[in-house]
Symmetry: C2
Subunit: 175 residues, 2 copies
């Protein structure tokens, strides 16, 4: 089953984290592979360690190199693209392994918008996803091909956000 969470509202990655909690609660395992988010440490990254959740039950792997083309990013676009392709290959291996009831490809829609990946690469990677396990795709700007393929699609709409008043992202709210 494939769940897609897109749109410009807060609550996409957060919703994927909640889905991971739900899966953990039922004794199953959950992996998140992050395509864009870079090396900074979020609340969720400390969670597994703090509560001694074993690596085969819960992992968040940061495979992005940070923001692309904004906020002081100086990396060549090809390096970002290489990181994204490598993350997608990693997903293929993890999918094959059968270790994970839930795999989240966090911000993969953004990797597509930025053309770090092609839609064909992503469609190949996720096709024939088993009915009895969960794949979750997040990020704003999901392409229509993914909306068509997913079993469940939610669009989040940003109605109001402190960003609009120039406030920074807040620990525990945004990360």
């Amino acid at each position: 089953m494939i769940i897609l969470i897109t749109g410009d509202g807060k609550g996409k990655t957060t919703s994927a984290l909640g889905q991971m909690m739900r899966v953990l609660g039922r004794g199953k395992s959950a992996l998140m592979i992050q395509f864009i988010k870079g090396p900074w440490i979020s609340g969720e990254d400390k969670f597994g360690e703090k509560y001694h959740i074993s690596n085969d039950k819960f992992q968040i792997r940061k495979r992005g190199l940070g923001f692309v083309g904004i906020l002081g990013d100086k990396l060549p676009r090809e390096e970002h693209a290489r990181a994204a392709k490598s993350a997608l290959e990693e997903f293929g291996r993890e999918r094959e392994s059968g270790n994970w009831h839930l795999i989240v490809l966090d911000e993969i829609n953004v990797a597509l918008s930025l053309e770090l990946l092609t839609i064909q690469e992503v469609l190949n990677a996720i096709k024939d996803y088993p009915e009895d396990s969960l794949l979750m795709l997040t990020g704003r700007g999901a392409p229509q091909e993914l909306i068509d393929l997913a079993d469940l699609v939610t669009e989040t709409k940003d109605i109001k956000h402190p960003y609009h008043d120039g406030q920074d992202a807040k620990p525990m709210v945004e990360f």
Copy 2:
């Protein structure tokens, strides 16, 4: 700070659970009080126990009596209303206690739509919420007064859902 997640899409309670994970990861505590959800057991309910997370760090309290007026509900409306009012009073005590960095009032918007609570009661309960802690309100159909009051509002839109094909709610997806 008050975060409001409304709309008819999947991902409202799930997003609140993810927010709880984020808060836990930073060593703070999170409480969810559920206004509608009844006695059935969800993945998230087993989570704290399974991972030995202490009760002062993480709790989900079911204070609803199940669905209201649908799916075989035979309870008088007043019983549902009494439960909702009692849950709101409980929230007041927990807020006062200062024990929780994050409190989620899950499906409180639905309790308002069903007139189990009045908007004035809810506004009184949440007014002057401290800036440095988090209150999260979920449920479809948020009244404008709550949208106006909240610092951050996301609307989830149901683009596609297996429900529409007559499928039942699935463990680990919906609960």
